[in-house]
Structures are given as C-alpha cells and as structure tokens.
Symmetry: C2
Subunit: 202 residues, 2 copies
DNA sequence: CCTACCGATCGGTAGG
DNA sequence: CCTACCGATCGGTAGG
C-alpha cells in the first residue's frame, strides 16, 4: 500500500520533471500532468499538495545532490588542480544523471513560491562560493593565474551548466569524460601551470 | 499619428521583453502587459495581433542582430585568432545591448508557434555553424589545437550566452572587454599558439 | 482514485 | 483606445 503510493508519487514527479523541462513550468497544466500519468487531474492531489510543491521538491532535490556530490568530491583531492577537477566532474555527473530535473533546476527556479525562492537563491550562492574558494586556493598556491575571479567563476559555471543542453546518454562522451574535458578547458583558461600536460591539448 | 502608433508599439514590445524575461512568456498575461504599459488589455490588439507575434518578433529581431553583427565582424579580421575574437566580441555586444530581449531569445524560444520554431532552430543552427567554421579554419591553419570541435563549440556558446545573466551596464567591464575576456578564455582552451601573449594571462 | 464542480483568469473579439 | 464580453482553461476542493 505504502509502496504503491510512493511509486505513484515518484511517477508523478518524474513525469512532471519531463513536462516542466519540455514545456516549462507555467505552460504545463495539472491536466497535462494527469493525462501523462494516466489518472484524473483531481487524483494528483492525493499524492502531492500543489503544483508549486512539485517544483520546489525538484529544485531542492537537485540542490541537495549538487551539495552532496561536491562534499564527496572534496574529500578525495588535495592539490588545487585535482580538487577543482573533481568538483567539476562531480557537478557534471549530477547534471548528466538528472537531465530533466537539472533543466528544471536551471530554467524554472524563478517560479518557486517566494519563500522557497529566497532559500533557493541563498543555497545556490553558497554552493557557487565553494567553487570560488577552490579558485582562490589555487591562486594562493600560485598554481592558478586569474585576473578576475568572478569572471572566471561565471565562465566555469556557464561551461558546466550548459551540459544538460547537449549531453546524450548514448553519446560518445561519458559524464565523467565531459567533466574532465570541462576541467581541462577551465584549467587552460585559468592558466594552470600543468595545462600543457593535459590530454585535452593532445 | 503614425509616429504615435510606432512609439506605442515599440513601448509594448520593450515592456513585453522585460516581462517575458522576468516572469517568462507563459506566466506573463496580456493583462500584465497592458497594466505595465498603462492601457486596457483589449487596446493592445490595436498594435499587435497576438501574444505569440510579440515573442516571434523578439526572437527573430535578436537572431537578425546576431547575424548582422557576425557579418560585420568577419569583414575585419584576417587570421583565425582575430576572426574568432572579433566574432566573440560581436556576439557578446549584441547580448549586452539587448539584455531583456537576449534573455527571451535564450529562454523562451520554445514557446514560438510551430512554424516559427522550425525557422528559428534552423537559423540558430546556421549561425552556430559559422562559429564552427571559424574553429575549423584555425585548425587548418594549425593555430588552434582542438580534439573535439563540437565540444569546443558548446563551451564557447555556453561562455558567451551566459553573459546576459551577469552583465551589469554600470559594472567595471564593458561589453567589448567582456567579449575580449571570453575570447582569451576560449583561445586558451583551444590552445591557440599565442595564448601566452594575451592580456588575460597577465 | 473518481465525479462533479468552484471561482479566477486566460487570449482574444465585437463594436464603437 | 475603451467597454463589454466570449468560450476555454486554470489550480484546486468536496465528498465519496
């Protein structure tokens, strides 16, 4: 019984992720969602309390995955290059194994109810600050040479976050390889001292 | 008289660009738009024929600006590095002088009516191909060293297109400086032979 | 999980 | 550019 409810709830969330990605949150109606799930619109409310709640759960679940993946990644590396590389790979892997939800996370967060929106923006800022610290540590160690750290941070997140737009699960690059390539690209831009030895430069 | 109509129409479009950016296309109602313009909802239809038409005009106007800017930029440069740098600067400048419209262009194109959507995707693909050719020309000239050209193209567009998210008209970087920085970042990632002489590496 | 239904809002038109 | 209005659709509830 509880099993059935959880499964249906998970199905609703997975379907919502896909619809929100394809049509956007506002253009997806609860009737669209019900139809895709195969139940009547009113029946959705036995499993979820509101449309906004679905969006919040998607956005905060992904936020949590990013945080957890980063924490795990940083327990491994030691020097700035490895630490940044591992962080980039971890971030990219989260996107690649949550393609629909990541698209919603990046494009639909502005439709979060006001309170959730504030929490969301705060969490995202804190997360980005951790990457900024990784860059700073590389600068202190004189291994990264960065003239504008905020600009570099923007380039890095732009490179990583666009991954959901083009990654294909059956493509030639694995999520890990993509992360590594992005890391090489970023390390070159950051003029890391060993960028001549990366496989990217071939 | 014609002047008044044109001015009102321009005002409606400018207001729509701003609302579509802030709230998204689907979540912006014609009543929201009318209120922001200061007229009754029905009065909008004296100047525009439909909500979709506003979106189409925004998306295709920006597409045209990107194309025109790229054409102008490529009449200047000669060697691959200058050509790519000029193209990147041109692209970035279009974004920076059309902040609202560029955000709509990047995030709301999926709501275009079907026919316009097909045309839009085709134009965008053609435009991206021109940048791909610039990368290829640099490879033929042995001045860029790229292992995966599609990957590099994605990195480049990700870096450029994210600009609308953080550019501030009164910030310390001008659009041209931003374009130049992105070009240096990209040229490092592409291992251009002169990347050690760029100002970015300081 | 369904039937039946609510008030609010949607894009857009008629007619001036 | 406005008043008046249309049918369609919205998110969600009552009650079973």
């Amino acid at each position: 019984m509880a099993q059935t409810i959880l499964t249906r709830k998970a199905q609703i969330k997975a379907t919502a992720q896909n619809l929100f990605k394809e049509k956007g949150y506002s253009a997806t109606s609860m009737r669209d969602l019900a139809k895709a799930v195969g139940i009547e619109p009113a029946s959705l409310y036995s499993h979820i309390s509101s449309k906004e709640e679905i969006l919040s759960s998607i956005c905060f679940r992904i936020a949590g995955e990013f945080n957890d993946a980063l924490s795990s990644a940083l327990t491994i590396g030691s020097n700035p290059i490895d630490a940044l590389t591992n962080a980039i790979i971890a971030h990219t892997e989260v996107i690649c194994r949550n393609l629909d939800a990541a698209a919603v996370f990046f494009n639909e967060w502005k439709h979060l109810p006001v309170h959730d929106l504030e929490v969301f923006k705060h969490k995202r800022h804190q997360y980005e600050e951790k990457f900024k610290q990784l860059l700073q540590e590389g600068m202190y160690a004189d291994v990264f040479h960065i003239s504008d750290i905020n600009f570099t941070l923007r380039m890095l997140f732009a490179s990583m976050n666009a991954t959901y737009e083009w990654y294909k699960p059956n493509g030639k690059l694995t999520p890990k390889e993509i992360g590594l390539q992005i890391a090489h690209y970023a390390l070159a831009g950051v003029n890391a001292i060993n960028n001549k030895e990366t496989s990217f430069t071939k």
